[in-house]
């Protein structure tokens, strides 16, 4: 059974990965098995300089989901490369490093540093974090997305993945812009802008006032968006949004995703990616499939 997939020239042994920000840096508390069997590891988004993140409360549980406004707390790219990357490389699991920046120049500087650090399989451009006090996200404009991806493509020696925001009218149009600009894959979806209110205090339940909604609650919307996008772009789509089981992941694959990422549910059960992988294999076996490509985009219309 062949379940390996490709993004650009990079090969991943299986299609199951994790959404950035939901698996830390694969720290020692995760078991060997959970880490080593992943198709790719995606650590938490890194920025050029260290960021302390948003004030509490940073998270809030909602029906079948959560709202978060962590604010990309991270040690900055230099400390990441010095302190975190060696341990991540030592796992031997293909690495997709997620980066975010306030300008195209900053993206380029970070990519050059990652080029020099070496040992990666891809770089994910987080164009869609909604928590940085900006009015418009890069991923909310086809023009801005195209411009950032083009600039990044000039410098990157690794395949580039554009991570898109679902907070747009037509996500497929943004994905097409990223593809035309040279992106090697699309990763979708990031969180949906959301809010929850403490009615006793009449205050937002999130310190940053608003945050991003994730978890099973958003899954059907994410599946629809992946299905629409995968039908329009030629590059692979990494699908995510509320995956809790192999069945959930299969929806994304059938909708057209080449890889799937477990996000919020890692917080509930860190063994989820493993269960997803085993379940996909079992499904393929039961349906007499020998190659994952028979499954990807097999939605009947």
């Amino acid at each position: 059974m062949n379940i390996s997939v490709k993004i650009g020239q990079s090969v991943f042994p299986n299609p199951v990965t994790v959404a950035s920000g939901t698996f830390g840096h694969a720290e020692e508390f995760y078991g060997q098995e959970e880490v080593l069997k992943l198709g790719a590891l995606v650590p938490k988004t890194v920025t050029l300089y260290p960021q302390q993140g948003n004030p509490p409360k940073r998270i809030c549980e909602t029906p079948a989901g959560m709202i978060n406004a962590i604010g990309i707390e991270n040690p900055g790219i230099d400390a990441f490369i010095d302190l975190k990357l060696p341990k991540l490389k030592a796992t031997g699991v293909p690495l997709i490093i997620s980066i975010s920046a306030h300008s195209e120049d900053d993206f380029a500087v970070m990519i050059e540093k990652l080029n020099d650090a070496g040992g990666l399989s891809a770089i994910e451009l987080n164009l869609s974090c909604p928590n940085l006090q900006k009015k418009v996200l890069v991923a909310q404009s086809a023009e801005a997305t195209s411009s950032v991806v083009q600039r990044a493509k000039q410098v990157a020696k690794y395949p580039l993945i554009a991570k898109l925001s679902p907070n747009v009218t037509d996500i497929a149009a943004i994905a097409l812009a990223a593809e035309e600009a040279g992106a090697d894959a699309i990763s979708m979806v990031n969180t949906f802008m959301a809010m929850a209110i403490d009615i006793k205090k009449r205050r937002s339940r999130i310190g940053n006032f608003t945050g991003g909604l994730s978890g099973p609650a958003i899954r059907p919307i994410a599946v629809r968006m992946v299905c629409e996008t995968a039908a329009k772009v030629k590059i692979p789509v990494i699908g995510m949004g509320g995956i809790t089981s192999a069945d959930d992941a299969l929806e994304f694959l059938i909708a057209g995703a080449t890889m799937v990422a477990v996000g919020t549910y890692n917080f509930v059960d860190p063994r989820t990616p493993l269960a997803v992988l085993e379940g996909i294999k079992a499904y393929m076996k039961a349906n007499k499939m020998t190659d994952i490509r028979e499954l990807i985009g097999s939605i009947q219309r």
Partner: protein, 257 residues
Amino acid sequence: MKKIQGKYKVVELVRVNDIYYRLVLDAPALAKAVKPGQFVHIRVSDHFEPLFRRPFSVYRALAGKVEIFFEPVGKGSKMLASCKKGDVLDVLGPLGKPFASPSRSVKQIVFVGGGIGVAPFMIFSDTLLKHKAEKVLLYGGRSKAHTFSLAEFKKNGVKTFISTDDGAVGVKGRVSELFSKIDLAPTTFIYACGPKPMMAAVAAFACDKGLSGEASMEEVMACGLGACLGCSIPTTKGYRTVCHDGPVFDLKELVFA
């Protein structure tokens, strides 16, 4: 999960009084591994409501059994209260940084507990039976029912002083006011666990008197592992996660708004 995820059978779930429930899990590996101040992260539902696990401080870990106390106030704890003997729960633990063991030079250990915040001090006093320091518990609750397990603390050689909001037991007032009841020394070490205003009062008191101590903090948590960075609180070293960097922090590091 490396050693820390397990499925454990509920051997007892009883309503202790009007407020609290006591849950006992048959969990030999967990009971052996847990240190005072650490917590267990329990999945209370197989469904998406509530989505997250719920963290509970370990109250006792004896003879292969792990005990927790809780007040069913929210969705998750109410669901836990409806468990039955024989149910199997998915538990992550032990998690978090435990209390520092008091050194031999510590001559007096003062536990300050507010309501359910007293829980980690029971397992702590279990491990301190041989420590020669005088052990004192300053214990505050809203009402009589909020002050449980006093006899068990006394059995562990802990002197107890009580305050309640209504004065039904002990002194009427706040737990921090009980400090005046005891003779503090430079070799006193404070351990605090309770609601934030209490912790702020204890931290201010310790700072004022030049005393050292630790506090076990609480915050809404998702992963419990230090991965999501959702439960971060401000400290003098920047934001730190309650689940992984804590829940125990040096009193001097805490920042109260």
